[in-house]
Amino acid sequence: MKVAIIGVGTTKFGEHWDKSLRELAIEAGTNAIIDAKVRGSEIDSIYLGNMSAGRFIGQEHVAALVSGELGLSIPAVRVEGACASGGIALRQGILSILSGQDDIVLAGGAEKMTDLMTDGATTALMGAASQEWEAYYGLTFPSLYAMIARRHMFEFGTTREQIAKVAVKNHHNGSLNPIAQFNKEITVEEVLNSTMVADPLTLLDCSPITDGAAALILCKAELAKKYTDNPVYIIGSGQASDTLALHDRRSLTTLDATVKAAQVAYKQAGINVDDIDLAEVHDCFTIAEIVATEDLGFCKKGEGGKLLDEGATELTGRIPVNTSGGLKAVGHPVGATGVKQAIEIVLQLRGEADKRQVKDAKIGLTHNVGGSGATAVVHIFSR
């Protein structure tokens, strides 16, 4: 398979007190359309990733909202898979082109989260877990990932310092990314000493609550050169599901959905893991990046912590991970994240990642997770 990305656009990620979901989505979409040098009227469909506008701002029907604001009367579909909504929107856009129905698709994601107070946002996000059997008992997302962390430390001897290094690395990368919510470098000590949120995870282990939107213009591969000299191609797409509740899973330290989605994507792309030059993985919490690097095959199970000690996932390492700064430093507007990950890979493969640029990046991967692992979607990109 092969589908081209001919344009990308985002807003800055952060606390946009003065901007609505409508405004953020239009800003990202417009930027992508301008970047792609297409006319709005050439777009055939819109796929919009959005987890919970109904809970966050009381607005449903947000795909039509966006297409209406763009002055387009084309099919507009909201895609929801919790924090993987953006990655799935991208996949749906790809499928609609591969089906032959569409030539050019806008695949985006948007989330406006700061209109709720923290407890309200925490409650809304718990909709991604099992409402009846996790949220009912007072669980939160930090505590679900903390339980994964605790188990990972128990089974593999992963240390608290190793987990903290994810935040340190991603904050460093984020400091080089103009759209990132956090541009400040942090130390391991600062991570360990920050406010405890859900033992053993502290505030600096958690991705923040963020407003933001991101958009991609997808195009039938054969038509891409008509619009741009340097298209980036999606050559593999895999998605898999697992149980909503963490306790129902086969393992507490492996996301089977990630493993499965990656297998499908690698096979489709005709590559193996060693061909990957860089990856954007779903680090909603620091431990999630460690688990993801293992599940994607960047290292053996249980050695994700070691990967950090070795510096293998740093910008200059063997397999740079989260060069954008990840969800951790760029911020995590849940519906937009999966699309933003793809944008980072596009910028890297185009050679436009500025100070974050990974040398000779040819093949990149994105990994987007919904909930505590009930959905995973993996995409592989090449120049």
Binding site: T123, M126, M147, R151, M196, V197, A245
Partner: protein, 134 residues
């Protein structure tokens, strides 16, 4: 918190939540809690029967919630855990009557009946099982 103020949402799960009623597939022999509506292993060949599970189990992993969702603010910090029941199934709940040394992977616990949360001052009181170290 559970979804705001929905009485039927709470009510229809009273039995499994209060009494640890799960189910067992007579085709494959697997036991499920929370109860399933379809055996995920046998699917249409499966046959589910109600089963009352024992109250004891052990902690597989845990955390302490310090930043709580709506409805749980007054209880922080409270430990949560994934518990593997001696009868097999795993579930998520809170740990109560705990001391620091009780929060350990492998710690034996038993179910006890507690308030989970209330829908404000005027709404219903949601009860259920939490677990205490034994």
């Amino acid at each position: 918190m559970g979804y705001e103020s929905s009485v039927p949402l709470f009510w229809r799960l009273i039995k499994p939540r209060y009494q640890l009623i799960g189910n067992k597939c007579t085709t494959c022999g697997n036991t499920f809690y929370p109860p399933k509506f379809l055996c995920p292993i046998c699917r249409k060949e499966g046959k589910l029967e109600e089963i009352k599970l024992g109250k004891t189990g052990k902690i597989l992993t845990f955390s302490i919630v310090r930043s709580a969702p709506t409805g749980f603010e007054k209880e922080t910090p409270y430990p949560v855990a994934i518990i593997e029941l001696d009868d097999g199934p795993r579930l998520t709940s809170q740990i109560v009557d705990w001391k620091e040394e009780d929060l350990q992977i492998g710690r034996k616990v038993e179910a006890c009946f507690r308030r989970i949360y209330t829908d404000g001052k005027e709404g219903i009181i949601n009860y259920g099982l939490k677990f205490r170290p034994i």
